[in-house]
């Protein structure tokens, strides 16, 4: 039982990390809390399904096109909506949340309802670790979560765009004096965040079904991980994913699964009381000290 808890706890942590990475990247760079994030996750799932089942495209192509579509959606959101209200946090939240609602309810309106909306697993089968069987899709999720984290680290430390991302995140005004276009980087961060949401959707959704309501759940999970870890901190996201992921799995296995939903809420409450900026964020440290 303990081995199974550890294995599924790690997989659960990987799922949470995958879900939160995109949301965190966008906020860390552009300062925009993209509340349409869950909707973009669902959008990419449905797009992949449409390309695969209605247009009959090969799966690999569906995945690539769907990620690109989601990234373009993120880009357009920035230029058409965010740019006009940038800096007004409450307007950004309301605009992105409204957009998210519109996207999700549009799918509901066009009858994307029911359990036939599923994506195929990458490779069918399961492996035994000790006496615990795990399906290969869950193994892929863990591997892709690790791979994506490494990719993001290398990208932000060793590419021109990645370094521009970090410079804007550290100090926008100084970055501007170096000729870095903050709007362009902001738009790219939205596109990257949306693209990461699409990757998460394509990897995670084959476990179950694509449901409109899933968008809300993804947003809540992403928020929980980001609040606990500290908005804008990738290390914080990873630590928070592991903490919440394992806590949820231990709760499910040794208490009851219906207490699982309380784990992230309790974690948020504790962090907000002890360190409101999150475990690894530096954004409000001065205010907190005062």
């Amino acid at each position: 039982m303990l081995l199974g808890t550890l294995i599924y706890g790690f997989i659960n942590s990987s799922i949470l990390a995958l879900i939160a990475l995109g949301f965190n990247l966008t906020f860390g760079i552009s300062g925009v809390a993209n509340f349409a994030y869950g909707a973009i996750y669902i959008f990419s799932g449905f797009m992949t399904w449409i390309f695969l089942n209605s247009l009959g495209l090969p799966y690999v192509l569906c995945v690539i096109v769907s990620i690109l579509f989601s990234a373009v959606l993120g880009l357009l959101t920035y230029y058409l909506i965010i740019l006009r209200i940038k800096g007004i946090a409450i307007s950004e939240v309301m605009a992105t949340f409204g957009l998210g609602l519109a996207i999700m309810e549009l799918f509901r309106y066009f009858n994307f309802v029911g359990f036939r909306y599923t994506l195929p697993v990458f490779y069918d089968g399961s492996i035994a670790i000790g006496d615990v069987y795990v399906d290969l899709q869950r193994i892929f999720i863990a591997l892709i979560a690790v791979g994506l984290t490494l990719f993001l680290y290398l990208f932000t430390h060793h590419t021109k765009t990645g370094l521009a991302f970090r410079s804007i995140a550290q100090d926008e005004r100084t970055a501007l004096t170096f000729g870095i276009d903050s709007d362009r980087i902001g738009a790219l961060s939205m596109a990257f965040g949306a693209g990461l949401a699409a990757v998460a959707a394509i990897v995670i959704l084959p476990l179950g079904t694509i449901a409109v309501e899933g968008g809300y759940e993804v947003l809540i999970n992403a928020l929980a991980v980001c609040i606990v870890g500290g908005l804008g901190s990738t290390v914080g996201i990873l630590v928070a994913s592991v903490l919440i992921g394992f806590a949820q799995t231990f709760t499910a296995n040794y208490l009851e699964p219906h207490w699982m939903m309380l784990v992230s809420l309790i974690a948020i409450a504790i962090v907000l009381v002890i360190k409101p900026s999150g475990l690894f964020s530096h954004q409000k440290e001065l205010e907190e000290r005062i």
Binding site: M1, G4, T5, Y8, N12, R108, N111, V113, G114, F115, R116, T118, P120, V121, D124, G125, S126, V132, Y133, V134, D135, L207, G208, T209, A211, V212, E213, G214, E217, T249, A252, N253, E256, P257, H258, M260, M261
Partner: protein, 424 residues
Amino acid sequence: MSRRIIFLSLVLCLFVVWGIPITKAIAVEPVLLGVPTSLGFLEGKEGLACVNMAVDEINKSGGVKVGATKRPFKVVAIDARGAEPGVPVADVIRAHKKLILEDKVNFIMFGSFRSECAIACMDLVGQHKVPMILGTAMSPAMEKRVKTDYDKYKYTFRVCLNAVYLIKYLGGTMAHLNKEFGFNKVFIMNQDVAWARKTGDLMIKLVFDKMGWEVVGRQAYPTGSSDFSSGLMKAKAGGAHVILPIFDMPQSGILVKQWKSMHVPALVAGFISPLAGPAAWKSFDKKIDGAMNCIFEIGNVPCTKVPKSVEFYDKYKKKYGKPIEAGHSPAPAYEMVYILKEAIERAGTIDSDKVVAELEKTDRSGAMGRIKFNDGHQVVYGQDPNETALGCMIQWRKGKRVVVYPKSVAEGKIELPAGLKSLK
């Protein structure tokens, strides 16, 4: 000459002015059926489609005979969203009020999904004396109300299965598994919602405790859960012979996929709504082979031993170009229109009290078997389609749904999944 023209023009004008209302009065007014549904749910979409199918058939044959005149049925549908847990009961009541007060429907069909909504709407239809025939909501409390305050609640009827009959079908299946294979250890996994919790409780109290089964564990999962590994690991560790799932959320199909990939040597037999329709085989990557699932009413699945269920199932497929996927509601939705038609024709009027009296006398053979109401205005479900309406258990086998219970309509015997052996 000019006088004659003026006179003729006047006559013509009078004819036109008076003629319009006269024509209207002569035209046959349709009998209005208000259909509150929940289009965000498969059961709601297919239920409405079935009501429309029955109405089309009846109208094509001339309509319903009300006294000496034949009148068509007309459907006034509204998406009351009663199936969605977050939608307040008051909103659902408002949708019913709109149908009754604004659209002035004569009857309400199909219904409000959640039992709390349906129970609240019983007062409304009683107040306005509009008969309501339900194809959703499963609480037995509704029948109790009809029995205890008949004059107020007599306008409500229910055609679909209720929770008590669901327990009987699941309990009967467990008794059958015990008799055939000697199984007596069960692990219960249910959705953390009122109806599923209650069904689990009643299964323990009325079935497993009485039959001497050992309940090796029980887990409740919040709606939206997508990982069932903890329950499956516990079921395996506890040596359960049977896993009893009780779920109606889209993600619950994952449970069966995980059951397969985690090689849990137990038979899955219960109710998982996404496993009911033929699309489940492809949706869940062909990993549901061997799983047993309750179909609340036959007709939603074609049952070869009840020809009318096959006829209904095929008609739906022909009309809409795709098969029925929901295991709950479509067949009752279709049958209730015919039940109402026959009651109106017997009453010779659409007067609600007279129609209610005739609805009570219903005795019809249809897609669900024989349909009769009990004194709580609930259709009686049982084991023999010649005597009562019928639900059934199917087992997935290589992409096909085989009816395995009750015995009277079984098309094959229960087969055990790999790794699980009979104890007899």
